[in-house]
């Protein structure tokens, strides 16, 4: 069906701009602009249906892949699904040429200023940069003076937010020079949007992103002294950071180790990653921790996010940082007032990309301008800090409030900037079933390569669905969208992807970061512990039903006491079974009790957050379900939990590569299972009164150890203590028995690297093999008949497992033993 020329010139879905703002899609007369006319044509005859479907597809993908950002909202802080609008921003090829020229010029200029600020300081000495902007700047890090070297790059990765002004020009809103975020989200947005609008994406000649990432990787390698063998690490502030998701995502996409400060140490002027095989040199750090927090020795003293000695290592030049430390010093709006003359002075060119007109109160003329035009300006503090005032919009203030602000400015003029208010341009976004014009800003990314900056052909666009507010912030309800830079001709439909590289850690067990191993080990332990408690809770109700409890009341009471005790809780001897059972449910759901099921589930969730990138996506969905459990753990909640935990165990068994991290997970699981079993045996097998275990008691023990049905399938005839012990203790065939756990522990230990502490590893291995022979040689008839001897042995083996866990920690996780 062909459309008439008249219809193709106006926007579908009753879309219209906002009059006083520049709109990407329609001009002032309401006619469609070029790229959008193609876009709508490709959407087909029912664009609303198409966009609805695409929106649903986006939401589904976000949930499936668990794309999230952490939002700071007081009590409601936490990971929120990433907000993504299916309608992309379109940028025409001609316009893109202009933008890239301006962006590259700006990156060069800012890099030169940073190199000078942290180097020779000629700009300050010659008065091109006012002294106050550096000398009174809390983000000018004096410890980093000397890092600006004229022959090297300071600003490797540069991000900048642009918006459209009403006259259709792109304007700079803000420069990000320290540890810019957004690359990972941009990539994720692209992948999801492309899948949500597959035919449209392929028909529009959209420039691909992979070449940029390919170059980005090469450019990071080039920072190292020996690019061909460069070890590159992404330094992250950790899971609590608002953009942790994309840091993890990016590290996986680029194939770099994701590390936190505690994973790295400095030594001999170099930076090393602590791995289970020892220290592994890092040549390049992709830094996502703000400079101020990077080194507790020389920068913010109590930061736990940094690496002690990092500044000195950077000074020595044996580690390259992308970005070099200290860039935030130039993230001040006051700089914008000086950028045009600085550009002329440094590059001998006119500044191509304008920023909003900015006046700095530290100079008399501009100060007067600010004071006279308060009603029309946005007033911002020059240096942002945790306690600094938010921007204030003169137009929205009453007369009295403006007078107060004027007094504040007069008291310390150099601390304030006035900035022209630019009405952000709008672009179409799908919101609540309508296509609406939304004010937007776009973050563009550049990276230093071979003496120049390359620009990523795309960006992270954020827009405000309410359409009015001047603030575009994802922390405050804005939504993101993909940015399509269109090519002049159609793009090759099969991009040549960079060659796949295997993650080194898989083939070299020693390359696993210690903290990763630590997290997986405890993930194994908590997974097992939670699962054990849940299973026991489930089995409790039948046990205390009257008819059973009266069979052998001692057993039910002991079992209840044991399960309570496993959560570090003792009950008064006078409590009835019913009271104890009620208490048990209450304790299990109580997060404030350190050893309760709820607390253990919290710990499990926390660990899962940390290892998310290494788990199959189903793991996150299970985790989400687990977190939605009710506060009171009734029967239904318990069986739901048990199913979730079982699904999880299945994932770890079949959904993970058998690398070193998996080995640590399984070690944790085996040690925990052995420990729990031994506790059960010591606590329940032999009655306190010294008599022989009754058949009901043996049955209960087997039942709580999850071995009753397997026992019955293997042993015939009546229950007896020796046979039960054989199955629980001796039999290599029982996957829930002790022998099985210790055997697997031995296998894992033999395969773990030993470089870190050869002697200690050897000792650990011989300890494990001695335990195995102890279990094999244990005299069952003695354990069955002599409660004292039996319990002593159970406790000794249990202590052995605890010791093993401690030794593993010392050797592999905290590197506390040296031989």
């Amino acid at each position: 069906m062909s459309t008439s020329p008249f219809i193709s010139r106006s926007a579908p879905l009753a879309y219209a701009g906002k009059g006083n703002r520049y709109d990407e899609c329609v001009d002032a007369a309401g006619r469609l602009r070029g790229p959008w006319s193609d876009f709508f044509e490709h959407l087909g005859p029912d664009p609303a249906a198409k966009l609805r479907t695409a929106t649903d597809a986006c939401h589904r993908a976000i949930l499936e892949q668990d794309v999230s950002m952490n939002v700071y909202l007081g009590d409601q802080s936490g990971a929120q699904p990433w907000p993504l609008d299916a309608v992309p921003l379109l940028i025409s090829p001609e316009e893109w040429k202009q933008i890239t020229r301006g962006l590259r010029q700006r990156a060069h200029l800012l890099n030169e200023i940073l190199v000078d600020l942290y180097g020779p300081q000629k700009l300050l000495r010659e008065g091109h940069l006012p002294a106050k902007l550096a000398m009174a700047n809390p983000h000018f890090l004096r410890a980093c003076a000397g890092l600006g070297k004229p022959d090297s790059v300071f600003l490797h990765s540069y991000a900048v937010d642009l918006a459209r002004s009403p006259d259709g020009k792109w304007w700079v809103i803000e420069d990000r020079l320290d540890a810019p975020s957004g690359l990972g989200y941009t990539l994720q947005n692209r992948i999801i949007t492309r899948q949500a609008l597959p035919d449209i994406f392929h028909r529009a000649p959209v420039q691909r992103l992979y070449q940029f990432f390919h170059g980005y990787r090469a450019s990071l390698e080039a920072l190292a002294a020996h690019p061909e063998s460069a070890n590159i690490t992404l330094l992250s502030p950790g899971p609590a950071n608002e953009t942790y998701f994309e840091q993890a995502y990016l590290s996986r996409y680029l194939g770099y180790t994701l590390a936190e400060g505690e994973d790295l140490i400095t030594r001999d002027g170099q930076v090393f990653l602590r791995t289970v095989g020892g220290l592994k040199r890092t040549d390049v750090l992709v830094r996502r921790v703000d400079s101020d927090f990077c080194d507790p020795l020389e920068l913010a003293p109590h930061s736990l996010l940094g690496v002690p000695g990092l500044v000195q290592a950077a000074q020595g030049g044996q580690v390259a940082l992308a970005n070099q430390l200290g860039g935030r010093a130039l993230e001040t709006p006051a700089l914008l007032a000086f950028l045009q003359p600085l550009c002329r002075h440094i590059l001998g060119e006119e500044l191509l990309l304008p920023s909003a007109g900015t006046w700095w109160g530290g100079q008399e003329g501009p100060l007067n301008h600010i004071l006279e035009n308060l009603h029309d300006l946005v007033v911002k503090p020059v240096f942002r800090g945790p306690t600094s005032a938010p921007p204030r919009y003169g137009a929205r203030m009453g007369k009295a409030a403006r007078a107060e602000l004027a007094d504040e400015i007069r008291a310390q003029p150099s601390a304030w900037c006035g900035q022209e208010r630019v009405l952000h341009g709008t672009t179409p976004g799908w919101h609540e079933g309508h296509l609406r014009p939304m004010p937007f800003i776009t973050r563009f990314f550049l990276a230093w390569k071979d003496g120049d900056y390359m620009v990523m052909p795309g960006g992270l666009t954020r827009c405000n669905p309410k359409g009015e507010d001047m603030i575009v912030s994802l922390q405050q309800g804005s939504i993101s969208k993909d940015t399509w830079v269109l090519d002049e001709e159609s793009v090759a439909s099969t991009p040549s992807l960079p060659p796949a590289r295997i993650n080194e850690a898989l083939r070299h067990p020693a390359a696993t970061p210690s903290s990763m191993a630590d997290n997986f080990f405890w993930l194994g332990r908590y997974l097992e512990r939670c699962s054990q408690i849940v299973r026991k809770l489930e089995k409790m109700s039948p046990l205390i039903r009257d008819e059973i409890a009266t069979l052998d009341p001692g057993v039910s009471a002991d079992a209840l006491r044991f399960v309570l005790f496993a959560q570090d809780f003792t009950v008064p001897a006078t409590a009835t079974l019913e009271q104890q059972a009620a208490l048990l449910r209450q304790i299990a759901g109580d997060r404030t009790k350190a050893s309760s099921l709820a607390s253990n589930l919290e710990s499990l969730g926390g660990l899962l957050d940390r290892v998310k990138v290494r788990m199959p996506p189903e793991a996150w969905q299970i985790l989400r379900q687990m977190r939605r459990r009710p506060a009171v753990l009734d029967g239904a909640a318990c069986s739901a939990l048990q199913q979730q935990l079982t699904a999880f165990e299945g994932l770890t068994a079949e959904g993970m590569p058998r690398d070193t991290t998996w080995r640590f997970l399984d070690l944790g699981r085996r040690i925990e299972r052995g420990t729990q079993l031994l506790s059960l045996l010591a606590g329940l097998l032999h009655p306190y009164d010294g008599g022989a275990p009754t058949e009901f008691r043996l049955q209960t023990v087997l039942h709580l150890a999850d071995c009753l049905s397997t026992y019955r399938s293997v042993f015939h005839g009546s229950l007896n203590t020796e046979a039960a012990l054989d199955w629980l203790f001796h039999s290599p065939e029982n996957p829930r028995g002790l022998h099985f756990q210790i055997e697997h522990i031995n296998t894992h230990l033999a395969l773990l690297p030993e470089e870190l502490a050869p002697q200690s590893v050897a000792t650990l291995r011989s300890l494990a093999s001695r335990m195995l022979s102890d279990v094999r040689l244990a005299k069952l008839e003695e354990l069955a008949s002599d409660a004292v001897k039996a319990n002593a042995m159970f406790m000794e083996l249990r202590a052995g497992l605890t010791g093993m866990s401690d030794r593993l920690t010392q050797i592999y996780f905290s590197h506390a033993v040296a031989s």
Binding site: G127, P296, G309, Q312
Partner: protein, 300 residues
């Protein structure tokens, strides 16, 4: 010219085993027109690895090292030999009044070369610019009194208002609290003085160093009894930087040995460390300053 031998001993005692440590030291006395650091030795136990030095933004020497073996105690002993002459005492008469100094300073900063002065005019983490500290100079003659006299007069006020009391404050006591208590140690006196004069438009720096203290007559000098000292350095246009000791109400003399200069204590804390493990620690510090001629050769 007098030559001094300084021994500065710092000991960290941990509750548990520390498995590793990283340290930054600012203990090496500066070379300046009035003093020369003839020798500087560091003795670290357990033995330090990778000891290196770097000159910082203010021209101080920073030492860095790490400890790789498990330890419960870390001991750092620095021994410095410093020759110090007494700079000619500044003559107050040649300096103009404060009111004249302010525009001069602005010109020096705005013109070529002396932009660094700017950093000594602002609040720093440990030196907030409080109205209460600015008020300490209220009523002093800024229009006619020579600036050096003005500084001395302010110092005299300090001696009347503030009491030296090592028990009143700690390293983490906020300045506002010290102002309220009217008590403190040299660090508090120095920060209060800085906060005051910066608000009156004078660039002022923090100086850390050693002070020769004299034992009571007839008594021997006690070893390790001293601590590090601190005082201010004020920029006076006609003269340059002039050091003043507000704790002792005097311009500094040949007994004041400069270790480091910066904006506040945080710029030049003598030892800064990060430990792996070890739990809580106790810090013990002992300083001995002796004129070389007092050190008698051992006799058999």
């Amino acid at each position: 010219m007098i030559t001094y031998c300084i021994t500065h001993e710092t000991t960290y005692q941990h509750a548990g085993q520390a498995t590793a440590a990283w340290q930054m030291l600012q203990l090496q006395p500066r070379n300046e027109s009035a003093q020369e650091c003839l020798d500087f030795q560091l003795q670290i136990s357990p033995p330090a690895q990778d000891l290196v030095a770097r000159t910082d933004y203010f021209g101080n020497t920073r030492h860095f090292f790490s400890i790789r073996e498990a330890h419960r105690e870390l001991s750092i002993i620095s021994r410095s030999t410093v020759r110090r002459g007494n700079e000619a005492s500044p003559l107050p008469g040649i300096t103009g009044p404060l009111d004249a100094a302010r525009p001069q300073i602005a010109r020096l900063i705005g013109g070529r070369g002396q932009f660094e002065l700017e950093q000594y005019l602002h609040a720093t983490p440990l030196v907030p610019l409080l109205p209460g500290t600015a008020a300490l100079a209220d009523g002093l003659d800024a229009a006619t009194m020579p600036l050096l006299d003005w500084i001395g007069a302010l110092g005299k006020r300090f001696s009347e208002i503030f009491v030296f009391d090592p028990k009143a404050t700690t390293i983490s006591t906020p300045l506002a609290r010290a102002l309220e208590l009217k008590r403190g140690v040299c660090q508090d006196f120095t920060h209060l003085f800085l906060s005051c004069v910066r608000q009156h438009g004078l660039p002022a720096a923090y100086v850390s160093g050693y002070l020769l203290t004299n034992p009571p007559p007839g008594r021997p000098r006690l070893r390790g009894a001293d601590a590090m000292h601190a005082w201010v350095s004020v920029f006076v246009p006609e003269v340059g930087w002039v050091d003043y000791d507000p704790t002792n109400t005097c311009f500094t003399g040949d007994g004041h040995l400069v270790v480091a200069r910066g904006r506040d204590y945080a710029d030049l804390s003598p030892t800064r460390g990060v430990f792996s493990g070890g739990g809580t620690h106790r810090l013990k510090i002992g300083v001995t300053v002796e004129p070389e001629h007092e050190i008698k050769p051992l006799t058999g």
